[in-house]
Point group: C2
Chain length 228, copies 2
């Protein structure tokens, strides 16, 4: 409609003299691009698949060029993890009448994000405290406090929800990893549980309703910490 779309004024004024094919072949290196490709690589090859050399290869640059944008490999891991954990706190959460629904929603989103990138679960234990995590904790704190959880119980309540989600996600992700060969794994599980009669009877390891179990356990916990 408008003759001049806003995107034109966007910082892509490179039309000056730049040869076209150059722009299409390889965009310039940047922190963002490095992280994006790192996540791709991790998704495709798993945690051992991420190599500075391979990363540079995919980016079409020399290995050492990465080090201008990034401190070291640890740094790449940190950034990749952080990009998975992103949290934009919805501002209206503060007023919603359904505090319980808000909590469940935020935690389910958290879990889903991590499960989309199973390697993030094995990275987390080494670097749990980033801004995105803090932001989620803040949301929990605000919501629970508003719901009437006693101040003396607040911290324990927050951590318990937190722990529950982390544990559920890590356990679930580790199943994903070990079930690459579904059939063989199923076989192995059945075999294993023979030695453990009670969990065999309840089919603990064969039940595939992870989402349902997650929700149910979360309800137990919320029941337990709801103010009476």
């Amino acid at each position: 409609m408008a003759a001049k779309p806003r995107s034109a004024s966007k910082r892509s004024q490179r039309t000056k003299l730049q040869p076209i094919q150059e722009a299409s072949s390889e965009p310039p290196l940047s922190r963002e691009r490095i992280v994006a490709i790192a996540v791709e690589l991790l998704d495709a090859q798993g945690i051992d698949g991420l190599t500075m050399r391979r990363l540079a290869d995919r980016l079409g640059s020399g290995v050492m060029s990465l080090y201008w944008h990034v401190d070291n490999k640890e740094d790449v891991f940190d950034l990749a993890l952080d990009s998975v954990l992103e949290h934009r706190g919805s501002p209206e959460t503060g007023e919603s009448p359904d505090w319980r629904g808000d909590v469940v929603h935020m935690l389910e989103d958290w879990r889903a994000r991590m499960l989309r990138h199973p390697w993030s679960a094995s990275l987390l234990p080494r670097r749990a405290l980033g801004p995105n995590i803090l932001s989620r904790l803040e949301m929990l704190s605000k919501t629970l406090s508003r719901a009437g959880v006693a101040d003396a119980n607040l911290n324990a309540a927050i951590w318990s929800l937190w722990n529950y989600v982390m544990g559920a996600t890590l356990t679930r992700a580790s199943f994903d990893l070990s079930e690459e060969d579904r059939a063989a794994a199923q076989q192995r599980l059945t075999h294993l549980s023979e030695h453990y009669p009670t969990i065999e009877r309840s089919r603990l390891l064969l039940d595939n309703d992870w989402d349902g179990a997650f929700r149910k356990g979360l309800d137990f916990l919320l029941d337990g910490l709801s103010p009476r």
Copy 2:
């Protein structure tokens, strides 16, 4: 034999009768010894500190000798983790009248074992399903079932306890790692929480009573899943 100098000078001339000190200096290689030293090394140097070459060094053997007893480095990690997670199910647990106490005791023991070897937390997400874990799940299953948890709720109840403990342990271990420099970390935490008013007010990150919080959250959860 003294007539042949060529092989005599190369390696230590093992005399026909074993010198006593030889036996006392290095016991023969074995799976058990390898695992024990691997755990020592991990305790001392962390996860990146474990190297096949270093391990062999500490054992007084050539690197490749390890591979007779062990498949590869992954295998060493598996064995080391397993040795930390050991669980000898006390047989009398089946009859104790205090089911809740039994559960708490087992889970606290689990957590304590892992926290004694913080690297185990970062290893766990990659290989969650060993016999020791199954044995603990079996114990939970038996105890909760005896306590009267409905069959339809049993699996969710087991997993929720499980998840809680795993999450609590991983989170706590990651704090240990990042607080190597206590003072600086404390500073950083205070600084960080400025942006998160609610958790700053409740001093969520500065509260050091981890054991108490663990116990309290566990009580919430047990309250929630206890049969009414």
